[in-house]
């Protein structure tokens, strides 16, 4: 039986267990449920838990370990000469071959099978007829191994089904026997739920551990071929992909140009987003009437809900060409030569579009922080005769400054981690430049370009993406932890 059918059977048994447990709880007290320790449903749930939990645990462990055990046994059945002489990679190929033969053998009927097991030469055309194509270099021992594999797989399935269903039934019986009026069913069921809740909340931690571990291990492999100093302080990015003519071509993996591009584009984006976002937040908090506010605020936040791919396309199709044409006109007016000095993909294009995306982040975060400044400070200032703008500039903003800085840091971390806009609008040439009208590239663009397409995970050309990712992770993490610390401190100040 397949895993899905087994799970289905266990669930059906569990449902039956629930009903039977419920009935039994009622009959134990002769229908007077008030004498039970818990509500009858809990007795049902108690049986349900015992029926499915141990069985599913057994199934999970079994499903995780059995393939490994089987594969080892099949490999052990290879002739000794094969085991001695073949490299691990060759053995893996043989193993794949054995697996496809085993799959093919299942399609044959009895007569064909005896015919086929005579040797690989007879087997191949028979399997080809059934639509299983085999590579030419098979050997006779593989058929024996394939038969063994099929036998083991069948035995595995049989015993797995017996074990899982057995555990399920034993659990059901055990729980049913236990049911009596004094059984504290509710407490036990709740303990299981409690455990499940704890398990769920550790997923967040597991994710972080997964991120850090996976990236650290791959980065370690990268640093074994490229020294960290060359990565962190190198000023040239030129990771040539290994090609057939020049397999030893070692690329240069300098982080500096990528980091410079990332920070430059983020800086331009902040130049656009901060003034607009901050003034929008001030207007919303201080001046806007409630009707204007309830209309403008959600509309502005629509900007935050638009996927970044849409911004990327907007930059690529509309903003980039627009800036290029405008610059050509400007050049024409001033110098008479209509040559565009802004290229279609440039720091300016990417920064401007990213800035638009960040406006609602700045405005809603600052809005929250401005409205948190105690009312008394505002009233005091207004009462002394200050105008509203003076109150804002001299009282509220200085008081809210730490919080606003925190909000801006969070926005900056978003700008640094943004991918699609820069992939489509910033260009791919890694270079150090201070001209915002030329293309530059970022860390995220290079992660994408190193990891899309067909690839093998052994070359530094692909592993470098993990080193870049780790760098990005730590930069954004540092910014966020610091920002959260500031904001939290600021909140405590006014609570």
């Amino acid at each position: 039986m397949s895993v899905t059918t087994l799970v289905a059977i266990v669930l059906v048994l569990a449902a039956i267990g629930y009903v039977v447990g419920l009935q039994r709880a009622r009959s134990v007290v002769g229908g007077e449920t008030a004498q039970l320790h818990s509500r009858p449903g809990y007795y049902g749930s108690y049986v349900l838990v015992w029926t499915c939990l141990p069985a599913l645990l057994v199934l999970a462990v079994w499903a995780a370990t059995a393939p490994i055990v089987i594969e080892n046994q099949v490999r052990a059945s290879f002739p000794e000469t094969v085991q001695m002489q073949q490299s691990p990679n060759q053995q893996n190929l043989s193993m794949n071959m054995v697996e496809s033969i085993a799959r093919g053998l299942r399609l044959l009927d009895e007569r064909e099978r005896t015919q086929a097991t005579a040797g690989f030469v007879e087997l191949r055309p028979l399997l080809a007829e059934k639509g299983v194509a085999l590579a030419g270099n098979g050997e006779d021992y593989m058929i024996r191994s394939a038969l063994l594999l099929n036998r083991l797989t069948d035995a595995n399935r049989l015993w797995r089904s017996i074990a899982v269903i057995g555990f399920s039934l034993v659990g059901l019986g055990f729980a049913l026997v236990q049911i009596r009026a004094r059984l504290r069913a509710r407490n036990r069921v709740e303990a299981v739920i409690h455990g499940a809740l704890i398990l769920a909340s550790t997923v967040a931690i597991l994710t972080t551990i997964g991120i850090v571990l996976s990236m650290v291990s791959e980065t370690g492999r990268f640093f074994s071929s490229v020294p960290p100093a060359e990565f962190f302080f190198g000023t040239v990015w030129d990771p040539r992909f290994a090609n057939a003519e020049d397999p030893d071509a070692a690329g240069q993996f300098g982080l500096i140009p990528l980091l410079a591009g990332t920070l430059y584009i983020a800086f331009v984006a902040m130049l656009v987003a901060v003034p607009i976002g901050l003034f929008a937040a001030i207007y919303m908090a201080e001046y806007a009437g409630s009707r204007f506010r309830s209309l403008a605020k959600p509309l502005l936040e629509v900007l935050a809900g638009i996927p970044t791919i849409v911004y990327g396309f907007f930059a690529l199709i509309t903003v980039g060409p627009f800036l290029r044409d405008i610059s050509a006109q400007l050049a024409g007016i001033t110098t008479g030569d209509f040559a565009a000095f802004v290229s279609a993909t440039s720091v300016l294009t990417a920064g401007l579009v990213m800035g638009i995306m960040l406006i609602p982040f700045v405005s809603s975060l600052s809005d929250d922080i401005i409205t948190q400044v105690p009312r008394a400070m505002r009233d005091g200032s207004l009462g002394l005769g200050a105008t509203r703008s003076e109150t804002m500039r001299r009282v509220i903003l200085p008081a809210a400054l730490p919080g606003v800085v925190g909000a801006l840091l969070m926005t900056a971390s978003r700008a640094i981690g943004e991918t699609m806009i820069v992939v489509m609008a910033a260009g791919v040439a890694a270079r150090l430049s201070i001209n915002p009208f030329e293309p530059m590239t970022t860390v995220t663009v290079k992660i994408v370009s190193q990891l899309t397409g067909d690839l093998e995970f052994t070359s530094p050309q692909t592993l470098v993406a993990f080193a870049l990712g780790l760098t990005l992770f730590f930069i954004t993490l540092a910014l966020n932890v610091y920002a959260l610390y500031i904001v939290r401190k600021y909140r405590e100040q006014y609570e």
Partner: protein, 439 residues
């Protein structure tokens, strides 16, 4: 600014009769400040307007596709020379279907089949996709062999663009993708009522294709649907369970503090890092297939979890303690209190947060690029383990294509994506308005 206020204040002091405190200048500054704020909002909103207007103006035409009405004769000689009517036979599958369409087109345009120049121009009118279209008709109903049917066939992508006026026809003929003869034929067909823009159902149903007229979002929509389903099934229960534990049961200690800080930081991790995680853990370590919706779904689940947890915790926090006290007071256990009273009251807030999290996940592109969803998939994925693409990834792939017709389709696809997002967000807002209670 303050200095300026003071000096102008001093200058006006002499003119005014009574003691002047620079009120005029201060009010001017006030008005300026206010105007800056208003200007900022107007600039922000106009960006939104320009963005949407540029997408819609480029994309709305994608929903119409130029088609040509042909009276196709399904000649038995060509389709089924052996007369077996066996829909699986090689002869029927590889028959020269384009020839049927070409013949019908020559008839409609009164072209001599031996006139090479004219036939070449006419052949360019019809999409290559006509082969599969006519073949599917025959395999669906072999009885039409030998009869003549009226069929709307897709026009070629360039013809479609020309019909929509997207080509500059003043350009010299040799540098255009549509010849003068073809334009003439198009007019001829249009006057006969045999060429018109019809609603482009293919945009919603076709899979990947290198020809714009037969390229559609079908595979991407199904792939995205699978992923959203996985995210919903995994992220909602795990997220709600985690929030309940943290908000209602967790003791205040180092560990729960760590989890809290962790969740806040995970919400701010760049999405591309989740892509790297998915690549390293789900594909390299666990061995799940590349380009499959299940990997995409798992990655997006991890990405959405922090959002859902934060929203759920806020919703749980908003339920007043008096409700918990009352439940505990009448003898409910803590677990019963949470599941019977607190959770149902927090449900609208949780749902709103979940829908918004799903909407973010639906528009996410970067992590999906890393797990190989940038794939040319022409067939519908039937399970989450089959290769598929996703809506935003499809948009990304199309945006790299040079043809004018693909620009239009990319914008059209963006409109579809934005529609989905709008529906989800509006649902969330309605839910919040309708069911959210304030105590």
């Amino acid at each position: 600014m303050t200095d300026a206020t003071l000096t102008t204040g001093a200058a006006t002091q002499a003119k005014a009769g009574r003691r002047d405190i620079g009120l005029k200048a201060r009010y001017a500054a006030e008005r300026r400040f206010r105007a800056y704020g208003l200007a900022a909002i107007i600039v922000g909103l106009s960006f939104l307007f320009i963005l949407l207007a540029s997408i819609v103006s480029q994309g709305y035409t994608a929903f119409w596709q130029t088609s040509i009405l042909l009276d196709v004769t399904f000649d038995e000689e060509i389709v089924d020379p052996e007369g077996t009517r066996d829909t699986g036979s090689m002869a029927m599958l590889t028959a020269n279907y384009p020839l049927l369409a070409q013949r019908a087109l020559y008839d409609a345009l009164d072209i001599d089949p031996d006139n090479r120049e004219a036939t070449r121009a006419a052949d360019g009118l019809v999409s290559q996709g006509v082969r599969t279209q006519l073949r599917d008709m025959v395999t669906a109903d072999p009885d039409i062999i030998g009869t003549t049917q009226s069929v709307w066939v897709l026009a070629h992508g360039d013809i479609d663009s020309a019909q929509k006026g997207q080509f500059d026809l003043t350009v010299e003929e040799s540098r255009r993708r549509v010849s003068d003869l073809q334009l003439e034929y198009m007019q001829q067909l249009e006057q006969a009522g045999a060429l018109e823009g019809r609603f482009n159902t293919g945009l919603f149903t076709f899979g990947a294709s290198s020809r714009p007229e037969t390229a559609g979002m079908g595979v991407a929509i199904i792939g995205s649907f699978w992923m959203m389903l996985i995210v919903l099934v995994l992220a909602l229960p795990i997220g709600v369970a985690a929030s309940i534990y943290l908000e209602e049961f967790a003791p205040k200690n180092r560990l729960t503090d760590l989890i809290e800080v962790n969740i806040n930081n995970l919400a701010a991790v760049p999405s591309i890092v989740y892509g790297l995680l998915g690549l390293a853990v789900f594909i390299n370590f666990t061995g799940l297939p590349r380009s499959a919706a299940i990997v995409g779904g798992l990655v997006l689940t991890l990405m959405t979890l922090p959002t859902i947890i934060i929203a759920t915790r806020a919703a749980l926090k908003a339920v007043p303690p008096s409700i918990r006290d009352a439940a505990l007071g009448v003898g409910a256990s803590r677990m019963q209190t949470v599941f019977h009273h607190v959770l149902p009251l927090a449900a609208p807030g949780i749902l709103t947060g979940t829908i918004i999290g799903l909407a973010t996940a639906l528009g996410e592109t970067a992590p999906l690029l890393l797990i190989g969803m940038v794939a040319f998939v022409a067939d519908y994925p039937s399970t989450p383990l089959d290769p598929s693409t996703a809506l935003p990834v499809q948009i990304y792939m199309w945006s790299g294509q040079a043809e004018r017709a693909f620009v239009e389709r990319t914008s059209g696809a963006i409109i579809i994506l934005l529609m989905f997002l709008a529906v989800m967000n509006i649902t969330a807002i309605i839910l919040r308005r309708r069911f959210e209670r304030r105590w």
